[in-house]
Every structure is written in structure tokens, then in C-alpha cells.
Symmetry: C2
Subunit: 326 residues, 2 copies
């Protein structure tokens, strides 16, 4: 998790080169007011011992401003959708001149948050995952602002999709186009899926339609296609998938059935995300403006930091039904 520096200090270098530490420091900082001969001597020792100046000491003494950096935390499993969000964050922070520090320590989340909290960051963006009460406490004590993205925490700043309404949109579309409707979801539980599912089933119920079947499969792999084929054979003609990548599996199933002549009637598919391939594949889907989500998050975290707002921001972004061939 951490790497020690090699333990050599400016004092060692001074002793080893037979000069004072001030002289070593001068060599390190541009070498002005140092005799060439002395400088060479010191430089040789520095290189020999692979000396790296202690950054903390340097910063402390110099009274450096800290370069503005925003920390980013991703969930353990990264769906491609999150990369779209990351692009948005990168673009948004770029305009505001902030760097991104992406944390990547999977094993011990608590330790990670401890780190983040005393990193002195300008803010932290937490993508698509909750955090522990302990982590929140750490952030608070250290005055580190944080913002949830694509996740709704009722008591903290959050910017998120209106997943429930996305589910409603899918339901009302399929209700018009299909007779027997199924849901194929992700076999991982998530707030996002819970809400889409709730919106989808509630709207179906409101329209007097029963959900005919539901399956939960991995986002990647062949299972989604296989389940789709079975369900089509069982008479389902309308599918709502948790995400586009699962819908691609459905699309593949349909192509297969078309090719071997087993597809009897029209089957409608609705995805969720509107990832790049969807436009080329003609997939009807619920579009999440991922880039916008990230971009807005970037602006928001800076805003929170600067304005020191007292009220909790809860910003919902509405998805959009994109009707294509399916």
C-alpha cells in the first residue's frame, strides 16, 4: 500500500559530501551561489545514493499552496458507463484547472477513506457507491467536501439519475409495443437497479399489466442471450434490460433466432444507458447523459467547496427514451 522512501536525508548527503546542509539544499534548488566544484561533488553523492528530497518537508518549509486536486473513488467493479462519467469529470475539472486523483485501493476501503481524508484534497467525488458512516465522519472532521455521483445519499450532496423514471419510461414504451413483458437484470444488487425495477414494475402495474418473467444474469457473458432465447420461446415479446450491454446480448439472441428461422414474431427490446454501440445497432434505450453527469459533478464539487453551502444538494438528472429500431 505504501512505499518507504530510502531513508536518506539532506543531512546524510551533507555529511557524505563534506558540506553543510544549506549547500546541499542550494544544489537541489537550482545551484545558484554554489561553486561548480562543490556542486559537482554534491551532485555525485546525490546520484550515488539516489537521494529524493522529502516532499513534505519541502512543501512545509516553502509554504507552497497545494495544487488543487479532486479525489475520485470508483466501485470495485467498473461498468463502461462509469468511464463515460469519468470523461465528463475530466472535462469539467479541466476547465476549472483541477487534477484528478483516482484511488485504486480495492482491498481495504476503510483505510482508503482514511487516506483520502487526510490528503487535504479540494474535494472527493464518489461514483456509484455508498460509503460508511466512519468515512463520512473522517471527511467531516477534516473539512473535506464530498459528492456522490450516480448514487443518492439522502443526507449528503448527491447528483444522480432519476432511475425510477427511467424504469417508468421503459414500461410505458413496452406496454404500447408488446403483449408479454419481461425484465432481465444484473445479478448484482444496486441502488440503480432497485429504482429502475421499482419504476418499471410500478408503471406496469398501474397500466394493469403483469410482469411475465424476470431473470438476473451477469452483465457480460452469454447468459443474457441464452435467457432471452428461452423467454422468447416461452412467448415473451417485450424485454427491458438493466443496461445496454445486457440488451446487446438480447440483440444477439434475436439475430441468432432470425438466422435459424425460429423467430416467429416481432420482439421489442429496451436497454438502459445509450452506450456508443447502441446508436449503430438501432437499440431503443433509456439514455443516461453520462458525460453530463460527470461534467456537472465536477462543477458541483468545486461549487460546494467554494461556497461552503449549508444545505444539502440533491440534483436529479432525467433520463430520456431514445426510440430506435427495437
Amino acid at each position: 500500500l505504501k512505499t518507504p522512501d530510502n531513508g536518506i536525508t539532506i543531512k546524510d548527503i551533507a555529511r557524505l559530501s563534506g558540506v553543510g546542509i544549506g549547500t546541499v539544499s542550494r544544489v537541489l534548488n537550482g545551484g545558484v551561489h554554489v561553486r561548480d566544484e562543490t556542486r559537482e561533488k554534491v551532485l555525485k553523492v546525490i546520484r550515488k545514493y539516489n537521494f529524493i528530497p522529502n516532499k513534505a518537508a519541502r512543501t512545509l518549509k516553502r509554504g507552497d499552496y497545494s495544487v488543487s486536486t479532486i479525489g475520485i473513488v470508483f466501485p470495485a467493479v467498473i461498468h463502461p458507463f462509469y468511464y463515460e462519467i469519468l470523461k465528463g469529470i475530466y472535462d469539467g475539472l479541466g476547465e476549472l484547472n483541477y487534477n484528478l486523483l483516482i484511488y485504486n485501493i480495492g482491498q481495504d476501503r476503510d483505510l482508503m477513506y482514511e487516506h483520502i481524508a487526510d490528503e487535504g484534497l479540494a474535494g472527493v467525488i464518489i461514483v456509484a457507491t455508498p460509503i460508511t458512516a466512519k468515512a463520512k465522519e473522517l471527511f467531516n472532521v477534516n473539512n473535506t467536501s464530498y459528492l456522490f455521483v450516480d448514487y443518492k445519499d439522502d443526507e449528503q450532496h448527491s447528483i444522480f439519475m432519476d432511475n425510477r423514471n427511467g424504469g417508468v419510461m421503459a414500461a410505458s414504451y413496452l406496454a404500447q409495443k408488446a403483449k408479454t413483458i419481461a425484465y432481465i437484470g444484473d445479478n448484482f444488487t444496486s441502488q440503480q437497479q432497485d429504482e429502475r425495477y421499482e419504476g418499471f414494475t410500478s408503471e406496469l402495474k398501474r397500466l394493469g399489466i403483469d410482469l411475465a418473467a424476470e431473470r438476473f444474469t451477469p452483465v457480460y457473458g452469454s447468459e443474457t442471450a441464452e435467457e432471452t432465447i428461452k423467454l422468447v420461446e416461452a412467448g415473451i415479446d417485450g424485454f427491458f434490460y438493466f443496461c445496454d450491454h445486457q440488451a446487446y446480448g438480447g440483440l444477439q439472441a434475436l439475430t441468432e433466432m432470425k438466422n435459424n428461422g425460429s423467430l416467429k414474431e416481432q420482439v421489442k427490446l429496451v436497454g438502459f444507458d445509450d452506450m456508443e454501440p447502441s446508436q449503430y445497432l438501432g437499440l431503443t434505450t433509456i439514455r443516461q447523459p453520462a458525460h453530463k453527469l460527470g461534467y456537472e459533478a465536477a462543477r458541483l464539487i468545486i461549487d460546494i467547496r467554494e461556497k461552503h453551502r449549508s444545505h444539502v444538494i440533491q440534483q436529479a438528472i432525467m433520463p430520456e427514451l431514445i426510440i430506435r429500431d427495437t
Copy 2:
């Protein structure tokens, strides 16, 4: 570029809350051995003055190992391909427990490199762009290892695609499938394009074929499709595009022509990258294993740092011709 802290120190907080600085520090560090009443009092002042502990002082005193962080530099314009590389870097560094610090300061590159150099990073990965001699000098003096990815610097550690051979592959494929061949490239100059172009044209020449036309268009937008239509009408039946996204424009042109009946003969297209939509679209392309490139880069920069190698690493990765429908 930088933000000053608000100038408040632990000393101020101590004075303002009527306690010693040790007590403030204890509150800051978990609050053990502090009376609840005292803690609340101090916390109130901390919050009131929005005190953020100086990270440098903390780190220095604690003798913290520095958490291992690798800096990442992107070119000003980010092609989606680089995000694939980033995923690979993220995954590779994740396994090794390093964080990613993505620099995002577009305006003043030199100042950025200065920053990076005295950041005390475990290493720097520079994606698809050269750097100035001055930046190299800064990295060297501060003992900061760096590695070029998807760019070849003959004198520095580099991991890159064999773009020239990619061009050769495209040429030999099209030479078999088409009679009249054109190149449609990016209207930005880059090392990558220079090499693909060189490989492509050299191989055509070797096979006794003349390049019938070349055009340079923006990667995004409608120009590529428009140019493709014009060239097909002029008799071109084989296209090599700088990248998949330009080839998608070509694909779109073909679909359009097919639909209005103006497509007389078979036209072959070859892209470069093998981005996700390509597999769905049946695009023949030269695959660059972008994820692998990033993943290997992550392992390499750590290796360079740990082994303190003296010889320069020059690792070429071979692309692969993926034949699909076009």
C-alpha cells in the same frame, strides 16, 4: 492553478478554543483521550474557521510513507482510444496498489511538468505525446521515472504500437480485396499517423500499387462520410482509415449509398483500433490492444522504478488484422 489554504493553523484553533495545540491535534486524530466536552468545543472552532490541517506538516511529522501514486499525462485532445489505455493502466496499477493522479492542466505544459517533477511521484506515464527537453531534465534531477505510452521516444522508456506494421497489414489486405485504394486520415499530424501512413504506402508501393487518393478530415463530424461518397463515386473501392471512428463515417456513407441505390460495386473498408462498436458493425480493422498497452505500461513503470534499470526499454506491441464483413 493553485489554491491557498486559509492560513489558519492548529495554533489558532488552540488559542481560539482555549486549549493547547496537543489537544487540538488529538481531536483531529480520532479524539481519544479527550473529554467529550473539550472535543465539542474544539470541533466547533474547527468548523467555524473551516480549519484544514496542513498536510505537509502532518506527513512530515508522522514520517508517513508516501502512498504510491503514478502521474498520468494525456494529450490535449483525447481520442476514445486513450480511455481504453486508461482502463488498462487503472487495472494494472490496481493490482499493484498504486493510485493514479491524472494531470489536467492544459494551459501551461511546462509549469505542469515542473509540478509533476517535485510531486515525489512513484513514476509518470505520458500517453501519446512527446515532452520537452526541459521536462525530461526536471524529471531526471528529481529522480522521477517516466514512461511513454503509445508514443516512441528513442532515448526514453517507451511502450508503443507497431503502427508501421499496422499500416502494412491494411495495405496487404486491401491489395487483395480492392482494385483502387485510398487513405482517409486525421487532419491532425501525429507520430501514430505518420507511421501508419508510411507502412501503408510503402507496402502498396512494394506490391506495385499506386495510392489513388488521400484525404485528411476531422475524426468526428460528417466530412469523412462526405469524402468517402465522393471517392466511391470517383471509382475507389478500397479505403484505409486512420481510426475506427473515421471508418464509421465510411460505413455510414456506404449505407446511405446502398439505400439510395447509388452503390454499384463492393467497397472494402479497413479501420484502425477495434473500438467496441466495430465488432457489432462488422468492420474489418487493425486491432490495437489498448487495454493491454495500458496494463503493460502500469507494470513497466513500477518495474522501472523498482529495478532502477540502466538500459532504455523500447517495447513494441504488434497490432492484429481483424477481418469482418468489410
